[in-house]
C-alpha cells in the first residue's frame, strides 16, 4: 500500500505523518479509562473471532451467498463507532459485520442472520450484507456499492432538520468513491452543511482491482472540489482513528459541517470468501501487513507496553471471544428458519400493522 502523510485540513498538520504518540496523547484518547481501553481491544478481538467462526460455518456450507470478511480492518469500525453519541448514526456497505459488533449488536443474532435463521438480526431476510439495528443508530448493511451514501446523507439531514446535535458516519470502500451517487451526496452535504462524515475505508482494493487501477487522484482530496474538509489517517491504530475522527465528528456536531476522511486499512481475506485471492496481490503483501500492522496486535502491544493489559489478560479476552463466537454459532445452528408465511411479512409497514391500516385493496399478487 502506498503511504501518504496524514494531512487533515482541520489540524493543518501535514508533518504529523502517522505520529502514534501524538494520537495516543490526544485528549479523546488520554481521557480513556483502563476499562475503556481494554474494551476497545476486546471488541476488535470479538469481531475477529466472530468472523473466523463465520468463515468456518461458511466452509461447512451453513451460510449461503456472499460473506465479506472485515478481518484486518477492525480498528476502523471500532475506533469510529466508539465515538458515537446518542444522536450519531452509522451506515455502511456490505462488509458490515465489524460495524455491527462495534455499535454493540449481540453476536448471536448476527451469526443467526448468516445462517438464514428467523432469530437473525434481520429475521433471516437480509443476510451477511444487510445487518441493521436502528435501535443502535445502525442503518445497515447495504449491497449496492455507493448506494448507501445518499441515505447516510439523509440521516444527517434528519438530525439537522430536527435541531439535534449529532452526526452521521457514512462508510464506503475505496471502490465506491467512483460512484455517481457518492458525488451527488458530497455535493448536497457540502451545499447544505450537513453533519455527515464520509468515511472511505481504503483497503487498497475493490474486489481484484487495486486503487491505482480504479481511481484517478487522491481519494479524500476529492472533497476539495466541493470545498469540503478532508483528512486521511492510518487505520491500523485505533487511537489514531479515534483522534482524527473525533475532530471531524465534533466539528460536524457543533458546526454542522461535512467531511471526507480516508482511512488506510487492509483486508487479509479475499474480497468475499469465494475470492481465491490469487490474481491481484502477492501473499507477501498480506503477510507484511499482518506482521507489522495488524490492528489487534498493534493495540495489544500498546496496551501491554502501557501496562493496561497483561499477556494473561489478553489471552483471556481471546478465549472469551472464541467462546462467544462458538455460542453464537450454536445459537444460530439451533434456531429455526423463517417459514414460508414469513416471506410476505416486513414488506409493508401497513400490512405489519393491520389495526392501523388506512389503505384498501390488494398489496400482494400471485
Amino acid at each position: 500500500m502506498s503511504k501518504k502523510p496524514t494531512a487533515t485540513s482541520l489540524t493543518k498538520d501535514a508533518e504529523g505523518a502517522s505520529d502514534p504518540a501524538r494520537h495516543r496523547r490526544a485528549p479523546i484518547n488520554a481521557q480513556l479509562s483502563t476499562e475503556e481501553r481494554i474494551e476497545l481491544f476486546r471488541i476488535m478481538v470479538r469481531i475477529r473471532r466472530f468472523e473466523e467462526r463465520s468463515l468456518r460455518a461458511y466452509q461447512a456450507k451453513k451460510i449461503g451467498g456472499f460473506l465479506h470478511l472485515y478481518i484486518g480492518q477492525e480498528a476502523v469500525a471500532v475506533g469510529c463507532c466508539s465515538l458515537m453519541g446518542k444522536n450519531d448514526h452509522v451506515i455502511t456497505a456490505y462488509r458490515d459485520h465489524g460495524h455491527a459488533i462495534a455499535v454493540g449488536m449481540d453476536t448471536k443474532p448476527l451469526m443467526a442472520e448468516l445462517y438464514g435463521k428467523v432469530t437473525g438480526c434481520s429475521k433471516g431476510k437480509g443476510g451477511s450484507m444487510h445487518y441493521f439495528d436502528p435501535s443502535r443508530n445502525y442503518w445497515g448493511g447495504h449491497g449496492i456499492v455507493g448506494g448507501q451514501i445518499p441515505l447516510g446523507t439523509g440521516l444527517a439531514y434528519a438530525v439537522k432538520y430536527k435541531g439535534l446535535k449529532g452526526a452521521a458516519m457514512a462508510f464506503m470502500g475505496d471502490g465506491a468513491v467512483n460512484q455517481g451517487a457518492v458525488h451527488e451526496a458530497y455535493n448536497l452535504a457540502a451545499l447544505w452543511d450537513l453533519p455527515v462524515i464520509f468515511v472511505v475505508e481504503n483497503n487498497g482494493y475493490s474486489m481484484g482491482t487495486s486503487q491505482a487501477r480504479s481511481s484517478a487522484g487522491d481519494l479524500a482530496r476529492r472533497a476539495d472540489g466541493y470545498h469540503m474538509a478532508w483528512g486521511t489517517c492510518d487505520g491500523h491504530d485505533v487511537y489514531e482513528v479515534r483522534s482524527v475522527m473525533n475532530e471531524f465528528l465534533q466539528r460536524a456536531r457543533e458546526q454542522s459541517k461535512p467531511a471526507v476522511v480516508e482511512i488506510k486499512t487492509y483486508r487479509y481475506r479475499g474480497h468475499s470468501v469465494a475470492d481465491p485471492d490469487k490474481t491481484y496481490r502477492d501473499k507477501s503483501e498480506i503477510e507484511e501487513y499482518q506482521r507489522t500492522k495488524d490492528p489487534i496486535n498493534v493495540f495489544r502491544s500498546i496496551l501491554i507496553g502501557d501496562q493496561v493489559l497483561t499477556e494473561a489478560a489478553a489471552e483471556l479476552i481471546d478465549t472469551e471471544a472464541r467462546n462467544e463466537a462458538d455460542i453464537a454459532a450454536n445459537f444460530a445452528e439451533a434456531s429455526p428458519f423463517p417459514t414460508a408465511e414469513d416471506i410476505q411479512k416486513d414488506v409493508y409497514w401497513e400490512i405489519d400493522h393491520p389495526e392501523q391500516r388506512t389503505s384498501q385493496g390488494r398489496l400482494f399478487f400471485t
Binding site: K125, G126, G154, V347, F364
Partner: protein, 325 residues
C-alpha cells in the same frame, strides 16, 4: 362546490399537510424560488419558508436517496421529480433502497416518503421525457403507486399518501394540471387502493386510470349517443394497492372488458389486470379481454402522430366497438 384545477388541488393537499405535520418537507428541483416547474408548488416557499420548501440541485439520485435516508429517521419528505421519466437516474435509490430497506432489516425500518411528479406522454417532448413507469414501480413489493385522474382524487389521495408509512409514488400528468374539477373546501381523504366508478354502464367495463380515464369518459359519451352502447368506466386511482374487487363487480355486471392504459403493452399494468380478471371472473366473461395501450414504440415527437400513439377518445371508441363486435 368550488371548481379548482388539478394543480391547485395538489398544492392544497401539500399546504394542508405542511400545516398539519412539521415533519413534512417539500423538496425538488425548482420547487421553491421558481415556484415549481409546473407551478404546483407556487407560493409555498413564501408561506412555509426555506426549511420546509427546499430547492435541490439537479441530482435525483442524491436528493431522493437523501430523502429516503431522512425518512428512515421520521422526516416525511415529499419529493418532486420534474418528470417521473427521470426516475431512471435514481432507480437504485427508489427501488433498491426505498423498496427494500424495510424487508432487509426484518421490518425494523420504514420509509414514509412520497415521490411525486408528472408521468405522461402527449406533450411532444420525445421518448426521454414521456415515460409512464407505474408498471415498473408497482413490480416492486414494498412500494405503493397512485395515479389520480381528477382534481378531487389528486387532493384526497395525496393527503393519504403523505400520511402513509410506506413509500408512495404519486404519478401526476402535465396535461391534467390545468383540468378543473369540483373539490370541497372542507378536508377529506381518499384511501389508497379504492377504485372509483366514474360512469355507470351495463354493456362493457373500461378499466383505466390516469388521463386515460378522461379519454374513456369522452368515448363513453360518444358511444352512448352514436351507438347506444352503455359503458361503465372504472378508474383504478391506485395501482398498488389495487382494488380488484370493484373491477370484478363491474365485470360481473357487464361481462365485457376493455383495459385502457397509457402504457407500453408489454408487461404493463393491463397485463396484470387481464390475468387477474380471467383468473377470478372467467365465468363472467362473454368474450376475451381487450386492451388499448400506447402503440409499442418509444414516444414519437411528431405532435399529430403522438396523439395517435397514445390512447385517445377515437381509439377508445374503436376499441370498444371491436370488443363488442
Amino acid at each position: 362546490m368550488p371548481q379548482i384545477t388539478y394543480r391547485e388541488a395538489i398544492r392544497h393537499a401539500l399546504a394542508e399537510e405542511l400545516d398539519r405535520d412539521h415533519n413534512v418537507v417539500v423538496m425538488g428541483e425548482e420547487v421553491a424560488q421558481f415556484n415549481g416547474a409546473y407551478k404546483v408548488t407556487e407560493g409555498l416557499l413564501a408561506k412555509y419558508g426555506p426549511k420546509r420548501i427546499v430547492d435541490t440541485p439537479i441530482s435525483e439520485a442524491g436528493f431522493i436517496g437523501m430523502g429516503i435516508g431522512a425518512s428512515m429517521l421520521g422526516v416525511r419528505p415529499v419529493m418532486e421529480l420534474m418528470f417521473w421519466s427521470f426516475y431512471s437516474v435514481a432507480f437504485d435509490q427508489i427501488l433498491n433502497n426505498a423498496a427494500n430497506v424495510r424487508y432487509m432489516s426484518g421490518g425494523q425500518i420504514n420509509c414514509p416518503i412520497v415521490i411525486r411528479g408528472p408521468a405522461n406522454g402527449g406533450t411532444n417532448v420525445g421518448a426521454t421525457h414521456s415515460h409512464t413507469p407505474e408498471n415498473v414501480l408497482a413490480n416492486h413489493p414494498g412500494v405503493k403507486v397512485v395515479v389520480p385522474s381528477t382534481a378531487y382524487d389528486a387532493k384526497g389521495l395525496l393527503k393519504s399518501a403523505i400520511r402513509d408509512n410506506d413509500p408512495v409514488f404519486f404519478l401526476e400528468n402535465t396535461i391534467l394540471y390545468g383540468e378543473k374539477g369540483e373539490v370541497p373546501e372542507s378536508e377529506y381523504l381518499i384511501p389508497l387502493g379504492k377504485a372509483d366508478v366514474k360512469r355507470e354502464g351495463k354493456d362493457i367495463t373500461i378499466v383505466t386510470y390516469g388521463r386515460s380515464v378522461l379519454h374513456s369518459l369522452a368515448a363513453a359519451e360518444r358511444l352512448a349517443q352514436e351507438h347506444k352502447i352503455s359503458v361503465e368506466v372504472v378508474d383504478l386511482r391506485s395501482i398498488r394497492p389495487l382494488d380488484i374487487d370493484t373491477v370484478l363487480l363491474s365485470v360481473a355486471k357487464t361481462h365485457r372488458v376493455l383495459i385502457v392504459e397509457e402504457q407500453k403493452p408489454f408487461a404493463s399494468v393491463g397485463s396484470q389486470l387481464a390475468y387477474m380478471i380471467q383468473r377470478e371472473a372467467f365465468d363472467e366473461l362473454d368474450g376475451p379481454i381487450h386492451r388499448l395501450a400506447t402503440i409499442d414504440a418509444p414516444a414519437i415527437y411528431s405532435p399529430p402522430v403522438e396523439i395517435e400513439q397514445l390512447p385517445n377518445p377515437q381509439r377508445v371508441v374503436a376499441a370498444v366497438l371491436q370488443a363488442l363486435a
